[in-house]
Amino acid sequence: MPAKRENKTPMLERNAKLRATDFVEVNEGYSLAHATFEAERCLRCQDPVCVAGCPVHIPIPEFMHQVAAGNMPKAVEILRSANPLPAVCGRVCPQEDQCEQKCHMANLFKPVGIGYLERFVADWERNNVKSKGIKKPTRQQRIAVIGAGPAGLVCAGDLARLGYPVTIYEGLHAPGGVLRYGIPEFRLPNDILDWEIDLLKELGVEIICNVVVGKTLQLDDLFDKMGFSAVFVGTGAGLPKFLGIPGENLNGVYSANEFLTRINLMQSYNFPETDTPLYLGKRVAVIGAGNTAMDAIRSALRLGAEEGMSIYRRSEKEMTARVEEYHHALEEGVKFHWLTNPVEIVGDDNGWVTGIKCLRMKLGEPDESGRSRPIPIEGSEFIIPLDNVVLSLGNSPNPLLVNSTPGLDKDKHGCLVMDKDKPQTSRKWVYAGGDAVTGAATVILAAGAGKDAAATIHKDLSAVA
C-alpha cells in the first residue's frame, strides 16, 4: 500500500569538492531499498496527472506499483513500452517542470521521485538483463533517419520494433547528438548512452556515421537512388548564436558548442592521451545561465579553472537552467553575475582574451516572453578580467539540410514548417521532429516527437502497402 511520506527519498550525490575535479557522474543512483521505499510514496491516483506531464506518457502509476512490489522485470517492460531512452531521460529530464510538477503529491508535499525511479529501473535493466541478440526486420519498406540525436534514435527504435528496416545517417563520427557532444559525462556517462544505443542496434537499427545529408548524400538520393520509402529528419538545433559584440573572435573565446564538443565528443580532458586540445585559463566566464551554460562552466572547473562564473543579463528568477543543475553549480563554486550585460570582449595585442566589458542592468516591464526586460544602467560600465569566455546564448536549427533540399520549408527562425495535422514536413514522405522543428528544447520532447513520427510513418505506409 502507498505509504505517506512527505519528502522525496534523497539521491546520493558525490561530495561537491571531490566531484568538482573529475567527470564521474554526480548522482549515484538509488539502491533497491531506496527505490522501493520511494515508489511506495506514489498514491496510484485514479487520474494520474503525472502521465499527462510526461511527453511520452509513461504509465507512471503502473510502473511505480511494480517497483514498490520489487518486480523489476515488469517495471522494465512498462517503462520500455513508452520510453526507449529511460536511462538517459531519468538523468536529464527536467522532471520538475514535467511529470513531477503535475504529481498530486506535489500539492501538499514533495512530488514522487519519478525521474530517480526511472533512472533506477533502467540501470537495473542494464545490470541484469542480457542481450537477446539482433532482431531481423519483417517488413519491406525501408526508412531512413537523418541525425542520431534523441529524436532520430527514438523514431528509429519504434519503427524497428514495428518490423521496418531502418538506417540512421549521422554527420559526426559517433551517434547521440547533444547527448554525445553536449551533455557532459558527469551528468550522462558515455557508457549509459552507448548501452541505450546498443539496445537500438539489437532491434535491428543500422547506424551509419560520417554521412552529412545535404553534402555526402542529398535527401532526394534517399528516395530516388537508395529506395527508402520514408525519411525522418531529426537534425536538431546545432547552430550556435553569437552576440555580435567586438572581440568575439579573440583566442580563448568559445561557443558553448565548441567548448563542450572538445570536452565530450573529442575527450580533450585526456589530452595529450587524446589528440584534441582545449585552451583553458584560470578565470573562465560563461555568458548565459541555461543548462548549456551550467554544463560548460562546471566542466571548466573540473578541468582546473580557478574561478568559474556565469554572466547573465537577467536575474536569478529568469534563469533557464534546471534547478538541480543550478544548485550543483553553486555547490561546486560557480559565481553568478546577475543583471550584467556584456558589451565587448577585450584582448591583448596577440589576440588573447583579457576580460569582458559589461553594463549593469535593472529589470523593467515584462517583454513578449513574459519575462522582465533588462534595461542598461547608464555609466555602469566595468571590466571583469578573464582568460576564457564561453558564449552560451542558445542554438538555432542547423540550416545545412534545409538549404540543400528543394521543397523543404523553414520558418523565419530556421525551424522546419510542419503539416498542421501530423509530424510531416512540407514534403510528402519526409517527417521530422525534435529541435529541428521546435528550436532548442528538451531530450524528452525530442524523444516524444520521434515516437509520434514513427507512429505516423507506420500509419501512412500501412495505408499504401
Binding site: 568575439e248 558548442n257 589528440d275 584534441t276
Partner: protein
C-alpha cells in the same frame, strides 16, 4: 572505414593517399574538403580533396606532416583503412566561366588546385598555375598539374627551377601582361603568408581573387563555430560558408592569430609522439 588503395611519398613529409569512398567521390566538387580522424581519441582534421573519381569511387588527398594527426595519417600504408572520413564539406569553387583563371599554389595547395584546374579546363577556361616552393624538389604534383592546365609557371626561393623568387612576383608579371597574360580570376591555396601576399598583389587591380582559408575545425558542419573567419564586416564559418572567400575582404591578421591558439599544446603532443616513436623503435 575507407581503404587506402594508393600511397605516394611526394616529399619526405608530404604523402598522397587515394582511398575508396564511393559516396564522397560521387558528391565531391573541386574546392571542397574532407574531415579525417585516424585513431580512437584522435583529432578531426580537415584536408582538401585533391582529386576524385566517381566511376572508380576513389578520393585523393595530399597531407603534409606538421603535427600529431597528420604524421599518424602519413604513416598509413596501402591496404590500411582510415578510421573516419567525412565529406565532401564546404562550398565548391564558383568561378564564372570563359576567362583566364590563374591558380596560385604553395605546399599542399598544388594538390587542391589539381581537380579544380582540370574542371575549369574541361569546360573551356584558359588555365594557368603558378607554383612556389623553397627548392625544386618541394614542388608537388608538377606532372599532374601540367596535364590539367594550359600554362604551368614555377617559382623557387633558390632559383633551382623556374623563376627565382616568390609566386607573387610572377603573378604581378602576369597582371602586367607578361607570359600567358592578365588573369580574369585568381585563386590562391597554400600557406597563409602566401595567400595574404596574393591578396595584397591583386587588391587594387579589381581582379576577383579567392583564397582557401584553413582555420582550425572540429565538426565541419556549422555546429561549433571553431572555424570563424572575418570577411568584410561579417563573421563566416569556413566549413559551411567557405573555405573559399574573397581575398580582398579576409581579415588575415585575425586568422593567423586564431590558428595559434593551441601552438603550445600541439608542440607538447608532438614531442610526446616523437618520444613514443623513438621508444618503440628502440624496443624492436
Amino acid at each position: 572505414m575507407p581503404k587506402i588503395i594508393e600511397k605516394r611519398v611526394l616529399t619526405p613529409i608530404t604523402k598522397l593517399f587515394r582511398f575508396e569512398a564511393q559516396m564522397i567521390a560521387s558528391a565531391a566538387k573541386p574546392g571542397q574538403f574532407v574531415i579525417v580522424r585516424v585513431r580512437e581519441g584522435g583529432e578531426r582534421i580537415p584536408l582538401t580533396i585533391a582529386d576524385f573519381d566517381a566511376k572508380s569511387g576513389t578520393v585523393t588527398i595530399v597531407v603534409q606532416e606538421v603535427g600529431v594527426t597528420s604524421r599518424l595519417l602519413g604513416a598509413h600504408e596501402e591496404g590500411d583503412n582510415i578510421l573516419d572520413v567525412l565529406g565532401p564539406l564546404g562550398e565548391p569553387a564558383h568561378i564564372p566561366p570563359g576567362g583566364h583563371v590563374v591558380g596560385v599554389g604553395g605546399g599542399f595547395g598544388s594538390a587542391a588546385l589539381w581537380c579544380l584546374m582540370r574542371e575549369l579546363k574541361e569546360r573551356g577556361d584558359r588555365t594557368t598555375v603558378i607554383l612556389g616552393a623553397r627548392h625544386d624538389h618541394l614542388l608537388l604534383l608538377i606532372d599532374e598539374l601540367r596535364e590539367v592546365c594550359d600554362n604551368l609557371e614555377l617559382c623557387t626561393d633558390d632559383g633551382s627551377v623556374g623563376l627565382k623568387g616568390f609566386v607573387t612576383e610572377r603573378l604581378q608579371q602576369l597582371i602586367d601582361g607578361d607570359g600567358p597574360g592578365k588573369p580574369d580570376h585568381v585563386i590562391a591555396i597554400g600557406p597563409m603568408p602566401m595567400m595574404r601576399a596574393v591578396a595584397n598583389t591583386t587588391r587594387d587591380t579589381g581582379i576577383p581573387t579567392q583564397v582557401s582559408m584553413d582555420p582550425l575545425m572540429i565538426d565541419g558542419t556549422g555546429m561549433c563555430g571553431c572555424c570563424r573567419v572575418t570577411v568584410g564586416d561579417e563573421v563566416k564559418f569556413a566549413c559551411v560558408d567557405g573555405p573559399l572567400f574573397d581575398a580582398s575582404k579576409v581579415d588575415f591578421d585575425e586568422a593567423v592569430k586564431r590558428n595559434k591558439v593551441y601552438a603550445k599544446d600541439e608542440k607538447r603532443a608532438a614531442e610526446r609522439q616523437q618520444k613514443m616513436m623513438e621508444e618503440s623503435a628502440n624496443a624492436s
